[in-house]
């Protein structure tokens, strides 16, 4: 039974509720207690005025007892308030404190209702215009309490008032105390129609107040939730921007270092010649190194510019792209064939692996081939029109070129690099496999980070900017592609680039 009881209690005020915040602020300021003191002083003042204005009026002792009970109750509330540790604003307390606050407020309002009803009983019942205090009470309940609690308070007000006026009319509650004892013949409490009208009027007023005030509260709650959600989003955005700025600063720092490195090495090598440290045959070797480092510095700057270009462009350019992946790979094959031959690495031409999937574009293309053959046109091997992907052609050439370049760089003489295209239902996979030095598993996570180079690559002493795969990652993040790496040290690496198909086929 306890969990259900806890769940019900916790439901009084879920954290973040606008009404809970308002109520907590009022509790912090002891607002209800303060108002009760003011009402008590006003009641005492009215009793004294009553004695002066209406010296003959014989008010019952219940009026003073009621005022005394209000003061006593207020002292009890002050003591109970101190038992509830409400944190300083704007901190929100936990559900237990919120539940205590809600129970304490409900209890105070019910006791206030009882005392108001007793006061009405001793000061005229149905004749007393102070019945409007019930409405003040209900408005407050609708603003501060949850809907069900507010409705209970409204119903309690109506039941208590009805008990007094019906009791006096029916003769259960006697004697009747006039509101104005000096004015004779009013005797509304004996008139059933007046009693019914008073109860009906109060019922309508309470319902109207509850419905309108609850609607306002709901609206304010919704606004508060929207504001809180917006605040959360803004905070998250601000944190993301801060993180991005920190990453950008780190990147600039690293980039500056990486650009300074080749220049520093060139200066170091030149100083070896100038200072006579390098002599004889070493001078030619040092000069060769200087030329090579100049070339690698230029390559690094070019890759940085490529990365900057890709980051600067909007990802939208990929959505409408219709890049034929086979065309790009054939172009790259021509570019890398000579360096591969010079290094003694076999670079195979891209091969399209047929899968069981046949897409509509492919069927259309096959039909066109059949028509061409029927018309007796010369058929030359050309890129398959169905192999179109939604990646910008220049970016795709940079990415595939970087992966192929890496495959060739890290494959020793006698090795092989193979390229294949595997069309799938949603993507087109490009597999670039080499029989090179491989990548250590611990380097996988940082492989695509700018300026990070794997341990095996460093050990092999192969120069590189550490930007090639960072460019691939940036492009694939933008275009919605995926990159998978399979590798074994000393056996080779296969990189599978899954490219999203172009939206419409030509």
């Amino acid at each position: 039974m306890m969990p259900m009881r806890d769940a019900i209690l916790r439901n009084f005020y879920p954290s973040g509720d606008f009404r809970a915040r308002v109520l907590l602020d009022l509790m912090r300021a002891r607002w209800l207690i303060l108002w009760r003191w003011i009402i008590l002083l006003a009641a005492i003042g009215l009793i004294m005025v009553d004695r002066v204005v209406l010296p003959g009026a014989n008010r019952p002792a219940g009026v003073l007892v009621c005022a005394g009970l209000l003061g006593l109750a207020n002292v009890v509330w002050i003591i109970l308030h101190r038992q509830v540790p409400i944190p300083v604003a704007p901190a929100m307390p936990g559900p237990d404190i919120l539940t205590s606050v809600a129970i304490l407020t409900n209890a105070q309002m019910i006791v206030d209702l009882l005392l108001l009803t007793v006061m009405l009983r001793f000061t005229g019942g149905v004749e007393n215009p102070l019945v409007v205090f019930y409405l003040f009470h209900v408005v407050l309940a609708a603003q501060l309490l949850r809907s069900l609690n507010a409705m209970v308070q409204g119903a309690a007000a109506l039941v208590l008032y009805s008990t007094v006026v019906v009791g006096e009319w029916a003769g259960w509650l006697t004697p009747h105390y006039s509101f104005l004892p000096t004015v004779a013949g009013l005797r509304l409490h004996e008139d059933g129609a007046s009693v019914l009208a008073a109860i009906g009027a109060l019922a309508v007023a309470i319902s109207g107040c509850l419905l309108s005030m609850m609607r306002i509260s709901f609206h304010l709650d919704a606004q508060e939730r929207t504001l809180e959600q917006t605040h959360r989003h803004l905070t998250a955005s601000y944190q993301a921007i801060q993180k991005m700025q920190a990453q950008r600063a780190r990147f600039t720092w690293t980039a500056a270092h990486q650009l300074k490195s080749p220049i520093a090495v060139i200066q170091t090598l030149a100083a070896l010649v100038r200072d006579g440290v390098a002599t004889g045959g070493q001078i030619h070797d040092v000069a060769e190194r200087i030329i090579r480092r100049c070339a690698s510095g230029i390559e690094q700057v070019s890759e940085l510019l490529t990365l900057a270009r890709i980051e600067q462009n909007t990802p939208d350019r990929h959505v409408s792209a219709q890049t034929n992946v086979e065309t790009i790979l054939l172009k790259l094959h021509v570019r890398f064939a000579e360096p591969a031959l010079a290094k003694g690495v076999t670079l195979s031409a891209p091969v399209v692996e047929r899968s069981s999937f046949i897409d509509p574009c492919e069927r259309k293309s096959a039909e066109r081939d059949a028509i061409d053959a029927a018309q007796g046109e010369l058929y030359a091997p050309c890129p398959h029109p169905s192999l179109r992907v939604a990646v910008d052609d220049r970016d795709l050439e940079d990415c595939l070129g970087n992966v192929l370049d890496n495959a060739l760089k890290y494959t020793p003489a006698g090795g092989a690099v193979t390229v294949s295209i595997v069309p799938n239902a949603r993507d087109i996979d490009v597999r670039i496999a080499d029989t090179g030095i491989g990548i250590a598993e611990e380097s996988y996570a940082e492989l695509f980070e700018p300026f990070r180079r794997g341990q095996t690559a460093l050990k092999a002493g192969v120069p590189g900017s550490g930007l090639g795969l960072a460019i691939v990652k940036e492009v694939f993040d933008q275009a919605g592609g995926r990159v998978a790496v399979q590798s074994k040290v000393s056996e080779g690496t296969t990189i599978v680039l899954s490219l999203p198909r172009a939206k419409e086929c030509a």
Partner: protein, 147 residues
Amino acid sequence: MSAERILVIDDDPDVCDALKMILEPAGYRVACCSTGPEGVARLHAEPPDLLLLDIMLSTPSEGFHIAYEVRQDEQLRDMPIVMISAIGKKMGMDYARELGSDYMPVEDFLEKPLTAEAVRRVVRQTLDRRGRDASCATGSDSARAEN
């Protein structure tokens, strides 16, 4: 007297070769490692008299992590370390401070581009300082033993 041994951990083969060209004619035995793990393994296998350590290896701070690891090692903790990097001494120290004060226990800092004169001077001074510290420690031990 055998030649003093220097281990260079730097991922740039040109820097390693340049340091060999500078230091070997001056009478030092120089060995090079291009990765952190390879360098650490070598440190344990053949502890050198001096470690020349690049900061940015496979990660931008790997050099500092290696220096920290060396200082935590019972066998290697007294080995002098000279950092070499293109980021400069001040920035290097700022960077090390970001990682934590434990990452700064290096004897000196050599900024790239390197010159033969600066490399030889810093290496000599560091080794001499190390030698003096070692003899002081031995002297005080002997004095303590005599007492």
